[in-house]
Amino acid sequence: MEYIILIISAIFVNNIVLAQYLGVCPFLGVSNKVSTSIGMSGAVTFVMVLATMVTYLIYTYVLVPLGLGFMQTIAYILVIAALVQMVEIILKKISQPLYQALGIFLPLITTNCAVLGVAILVIKKDYNLAEGIVYGAATAVGFGLAMVVLAGIREQLELADVPSGMKGAPIALVTAGILALAFMGFTGLV
């Protein structure tokens, strides 16, 4: 039950993009088409779960015993960068189709603040390892949901007559704002 609440809260109520403002750059950058946004969400889910797990273990068993808690930021960003690189190499070797689908999105993930943000939040919220992994996965699903919905709307907007100044990022942001307004309806669900 506890996990179900955690999952619903991370996907709908505290949606990572629309309520917590994390990962907005890729959210705006690759939400032009539904297909690319699905690819990106797949890559983010993969890396976010792995990164949450690895950074949690490193923080608990390496940084804390050595009294190096203040090195958190530096250690995490290095771990995530290395992890992304590793995932890319492994994926290339073992699953060519998956690499084709996720490949181009992987390097972008190093600077996706949602991944680093979730890793830091797991420590801040005092989750244990299992809760951390569930939280990471659910957050990634929430990110994917928001992005796919926005991509669907933006595909339709291509056909609309948008004033010249509003073209591109501004109209995407306003759309995202209205989407966030809709997601506020989930407040109080859990």
Binding site: A19, Y21, I77, T111, I120, P170, I171, V174, A180
Partner: protein, 193 residues
């Protein structure tokens, strides 16, 4: 390009938020009031100044292949300094900005300037570029924060001058997206004219 142009380009012509659409996460998250926005802007400016200076000094030492990881370490070091200093001296602002202080490390503006400018230019130009970009970022955050604070609570920097409750949604997440969208549209219009 002379140094004055180098400095002022960050404000309107190449403003990192409003023209290049970089660093949107901290922009949306920390502009619920003008003071918060300015605080975040100043913290980022400090990191940008530090990383631009160090990276332009070390540009001949860092091998080309590992330059991105090297840049990230330099940036992360300055972020850690800011994090600890703010925790010690401005604990209430530090509390409000929360995880967005450590997240300066993945702010695309900082890495973007390191890669696009500091790694190719002299130390002095890089300092000027860092200051200009940082202050441009701060100005954009301040303006967005002010707009949201006025619309959302009828106050500016905590000083209330419009009676009533204001439009609460502008303090919340949806208002952040919408206000930034319209601000970018206005700047688009100005830059094109």
């Amino acid at each position: 390009m002379n140094q004055l142009q180098n400095f002022t380009k960050g404000f309107l012509k190449e403003n990192p938020i409003l023209v290049m659409i970089l660093g949107t996460c901290p922009t949306l998250a920390t502009t619920s009031s003008m003071i918060n926005g300015l605080g975040m802007g100043i913290a980022t400016t400090f990191v940008l100044l530090g990383s631009n200076t160090v990276i332009s000094m070390m540009k001949n030492v860092i091998p080309d292949k590992v330059r991105i990881p090297a840049f990230i370490i330099v940036i992360a070091t300055f972020v850690t300094i800011v994090d600890l200093v703010m925790q010690a001296y401005v604990p209430s602002l530090y509390e409000t900005l929360g995880i967005f202080i450590p997240l300066i490390v993945v702010n695309c503006i900082v890495l973007g300037r390191a890669e696009a400018f500091a790694s190719k230019n002299t130390v002095w130009s890089s300092v000027v570029d860092g200051a200009g970009m940082g202050l441009g970022f701060t100005a954009a955050l301040g303006v967005l924060g002010a707009v949201r604070e006025i619309l959302g609570s009828g106050a500016i920097a905590g000083f209330k001058f419009i009676p009533g409750d204001g439009i609460l949604v502008f303090i919340l997440a949806p208002g952040a997206f919408i206000a930034l969208g319209y601000l970018i549209a206005v700047v688009n219009k100005i830059n094109k004219a």
